[in-house]
Symmetry: C2
């Protein structure tokens, strides 16, 4: 029987390029892939659920897990720590499920060092700077200052596209969702991800 080892699909992009909308749509469309849940030391906000939005932990627990190598990747953002716990991801992968990561280039690099073969990385580019700015401004809750800061970080994030396997220019959201889903479906067909092939072909050759 041919079974499958799950893969890790990483989506990165400058903020505002459409990555989160794409991720959400792919998760809705394909029941074989699950969103990775991060651990964080920031306080839980109203409406957030433990284990669904985040694993909420304190500083001490976070640092202990970092020291014990229990994170696939982690980072400090302003005053808080964020990281991807290794355990739940490994459990999903070994049960043949794929895991989706919405992380930046630094997180991607960390995962790459730990699990190159299981990783499929996609970088989403905005179609133009004007379009990127328009999308960032659309978010009513962001101040002009936040938008300007994001534009500057976007320029930095953009410079890391050469570290990714696939590039999608997000001219059209529906087409970009299709593109990411197509990459996911194709990567599942890689020989290296199909377990039991040796036995299957042995049976074919022996007349099974």
């Amino acid at each position: 029987m041919i079974t499958r080892q799950g893969l890790m699909l990483v989506l990165s992009s400058p903020s505002g390029a459409g990555k989160t909308s794409i991720a959400r749509a792919v998760l809705n469309r394909d029941t074989g892939i699950t969103m990775s849940v991060s651990a964080t030391t920031r306080p839980r906000r109203p409406g957030e659920t433990e284990g669904k939005d985040y694993y909420f932990v304190d500083d001490q627990k976070f640092k202990m897990d970092v020291n014990n190598g229990l994170f696939l990747e982690y980072a400090r953002v302003f005053d808080h720590h964020y990281g991807t716990p290794l355990g739940p991801v490994q459990k999903l992968l070994s049960s043949g499920r794929d895991v989706l990561f919405d992380i930046d280039w630094q997180g991607t690099q960390q995962i790459k060092e730990k699990a190159r073969d299981d990783l499929v990385s996609v970088f989403v580019l905005p179609p133009s700077t004007a379009e990127l700015e328009k999308r960032l401004i659309k978010r009513a809750q962001d101040s002009a200052e936040v938008v300007a800061g994001r534009m500057a970080r976007a320029a930095d994030e953009l410079s890391h596209y050469p570290e990714y396997d696939y590039i999608i220019v997000n001219y059209d959201l529906v087409q970009s969702i299709d593109a990411v889903h197509t990459i996911l479906k194709a990567e599942r067909l890689r020989r290296s991800r199909q377990a039991g092939l040796t036995e299957f072909v042995k049976q074919l050759r022996e007349g099974g």
Copy 2:
């Protein structure tokens, strides 16, 4: 502007696993990919068109082209020579078109040595030996001896699946056609196949 360098999609399988039906369907469905045309020294049969079914050449011309390195791959089958001329393939690839090859593991190896980066290789497995035999027998023009010979060669061809990037088990023809088309569409999105990205991202970063 982002343009694309074409890719070479190789389909291999034991005879009777469904490779030719899959190839035909993918060519019908996707106008961006063209079937590679082989050169051969065997005589033209009624109904065959020069440059469409084959390039018909004599032994002397074939040997000269081999010596001049003008074949991407070539082989002798019984008394005749077959080979893939390099020129037409290069022309298609550089105009951004993809090229489909219906060749065996030996041809695939030869292409791989010459153009690893442009090559995407797919191996089609039959779902069972019984099914493979049934499909080979279905071809009314084949004698029992030919079928037995093909079964033996199939077992040999099967042993080469580990040399391929992707594996498809042909349980269902429609699904297998989808699978090959999905692989083709995903591979087109690889960063390495998109030319002009450096310039495109430069413009994005500079506010273009």
